[in-house]
Symmetry: C2
Subunit: 482 residues, 2 copies
Amino acid sequence: MIATADASAAAADVDAALAGIDATARELRRQSPAVRARQLSAIADALEGHRAELVAIAAGETNLEAARLNAELTRTTNQLRMFGRVVTDSRSRTEVDPADHVSGTPDVRRTTRPVGPVAVFAAGNFPFAFGVAGGDTASALAAGCPVVVKRHPGHPRLSVRTAEIVVQALAGAGAPHGTFRSVDGFDAGVALVQHPSIRAAAFTGSTAGGRALFDLAASRDRPIPFYGELGSMNPVFLLPDAVHADPGGVADGLVESFTMGAGQYCTKPGLVFHPSDYDLAGILAERLADSATLAMLSASGKDRYLRAVEQVAASTAVRIASGRLGDSVPLVLTTSLDEFIADIDRLQNECFGPATLLIEYDDVAQLVGAARALEGSLTASIFTSRETDAEDRAARTGLTALLDELAELAGRIIFNGWPTGVPVGRATTHGGPYPSSTAVLHTSVGVHAIDRFLRPITYQNAPPALLPVGLRNGSEHEGEES
Amino acid sequence: MIATADASAAAADVDAALAGIDATARELRRQSPAVRARQLSAIADALEGHRAELVAIAAGETNLEAARLNAELTRTTNQLRMFGRVVTDSRSRTEVDPADHVSGTPDVRRTTRPVGPVAVFAAGNFPFAFGVAGGDTASALAAGCPVVVKRHPGHPRLSVRTAEIVVQALAGAGAPHGTFRSVDGFDAGVALVQHPSIRAAAFTGSTAGGRALFDLAASRDRPIPFYGELGSMNPVFLLPDAVHADPGGVADGLVESFTMGAGQYCTKPGLVFHPSDYDLAGILAERLADSATLAMLSASGKDRYLRAVEQVAASTAVRIASGRLGDSVPLVLTTSLDEFIADIDRLQNECFGPATLLIEYDDVAQLVGAARALEGSLTASIFTSRETDAEDRAARTGLTALLDELAELAGRIIFNGWPTGVPVGRATTHGGPYPSSTAVLHTSVGVHAIDRFLRPITYQNAPPALLPVGLRNGSEHEGEES
């Protein structure tokens, strides 16, 4: 990228915003897990205390409804408290190889420590859960890392107000000054990911924007991990047995999933493979005949979406089954598997809005090849009741092969359900092969999101008094101390 | 990089060498952990069966002595068997969030699966342990990934022979055809890291070479993780109490550590901070007065080393305390802390051979700043008995601050010991901040090296019969089945 006057000014602003952050990191990593857990709780309490105010600001800036925003804020405070519980349970991240005085092998103990200051690029579609105090911020703070959020332009007032609340809550809970900071603007984001004090970055957004930042992170003198959650098509594979058992129910589920939040979810089902003898396009056209225009998060996001679907619909492979271009009504496009494969590069571009592409196939056996042709995705869904049909060995073998390809393709496989809605827990994977993530070993949601910000450190023959508290013998309950 | 005729030919060769590797990966990931463990054992047995032959070839190609090579081969077979035990203990890598029928949350289960074909760039200094069948190969195979080794030019016959033995052992143990492959030559390595079927790469070698490959891995259309173990200075901090208690013993230990293997270890102590009232340079000059020239691994490696020390010695900050330039005798350089800091970029360049730089300091309090100025390292060593001196609070506080900086700097902190020699176990970290590693979250040695090649995958509401075996209820002993 070419440095402009604006870029230089932004870099200077970022330098100023990050002043002293190395010292903050030192202070922060000295605090105990129990103290850190209290800080996360304090943020959750403070957000809860400002619920009405925050939801009102968010509703004014995003077109999202209060009920949805309230639910999202609850998810956000739950996440903060969950990470508080995670950090006080440090046992799973330590290893001890005891000394062997016969062979002369030393005492070796391994734990984890924070990677250092983390840059978080907040997302536009979840102003709370992937926003200033969202999962990336919560997991980085839980790991003991100072956080610098690049605020999202889609909800500027909410971002500033949330940042104020976080800063105040952290101060009240004894966090070092500067534990949380935030910056604003495109050029500031570019400067942030290149700042020498930043040791890792987390991003949720578009493939183009995320890839540009990934490239900057990788080309630093000292490269840093860049955890980008970029585009995802979330293919759905409808098998004949499932759709013929409940043709209407499957169609209803799809409508709800691809139009939810006006289709602005990273887990929106963008590709739906269905048998050619199941008239999904016809059922959807009927269901969606009277659909109103859906309000989108922002005018600029709507523009980007409309341009993206226009490009997809320009393919000679594609027909419109319901809805229309140039408007954010639910849009159903349809094609055949052969046509899809012939124009796959164009057709598997994410359209971030209420559109989905139906792909009809003739034979279940074609689906393995179709799955292999797809780019990486956060999720893959499969609808089937086949596993109970123990008689049909051939079908089960085919199903096993298809499931293997879905696991190659995605970070989460959903059976008989839709991809929107991410259960948050220990077993969560919200990530997957590129471009759904730039870091296929990691999840950006759930307990293991903290792993992104912890690095291993080994102590060899350390005197017990000089070991980190969590590595001393009998320290299994370390987290409970203060 | 500019494509040349040679590069095009190498790319075609790599394409040919990797033909069918996606199918190999599919077959391999279907095999059970117990089968995989037997394959690793079979490789270990086969190497053991060819011990005399392999050690003889290695001795002829590397100038390493038979005793050292025999010990290294034992370490290599131990590693293979260790990973066999690791894969049959899959419990630690699974998570289950049970369904909650009241709240309606689904059943969510997480396990890991192989990332896919792995490129391994073998190292020159450990022809067995970091060679064709070394730790990177063993951990990638253990994860269920096909491996393509880029053979090291320093021991071509050993590499080819080891590869033959590995291929035969894998075939005998039921591994799919093509589970292990190897390629040769610089251009082949460049093509390999960019090959679309390769999903991760592991490298041990120089900072320049590793960084070039890292950049290629990151700039792919679909970037892949690149686990590079590059340069490392392995600073040693000698505190006054320790050296004055045993001035001769400390010096003896240093001599042994920095000259071991002619200094061609990635953990060689390259920087030694010592109090100015401890005449380490004088003691070493005496100890090393009659040193003979040390045989190095290869003529080209010796050339690179001699050029590197010449550059360091050209600094006006540096004096020669023992040894001489232009010869691979043990070389002791010396400087003061102030001079070191003033020319630090030049002086913390790794010289891969029998040289070390002594840095004298006046006050222990200066060491925190010195540690902060250093680049990332695999190890940091500290010699002190301070922790027993409970009366001296100020000294302990200073020590705590210094230890914190060492942990920022390195992946392994060694107390009262030298960095050469890596204990291999569950608690091992052989990695650290850049440039010692390009992936600070990972280790390239020990049990957790396998983590580099496993990615998480989550199953939501999967019928039990369609879950991976390790995720089914009551499957805790899965690894013991065949």
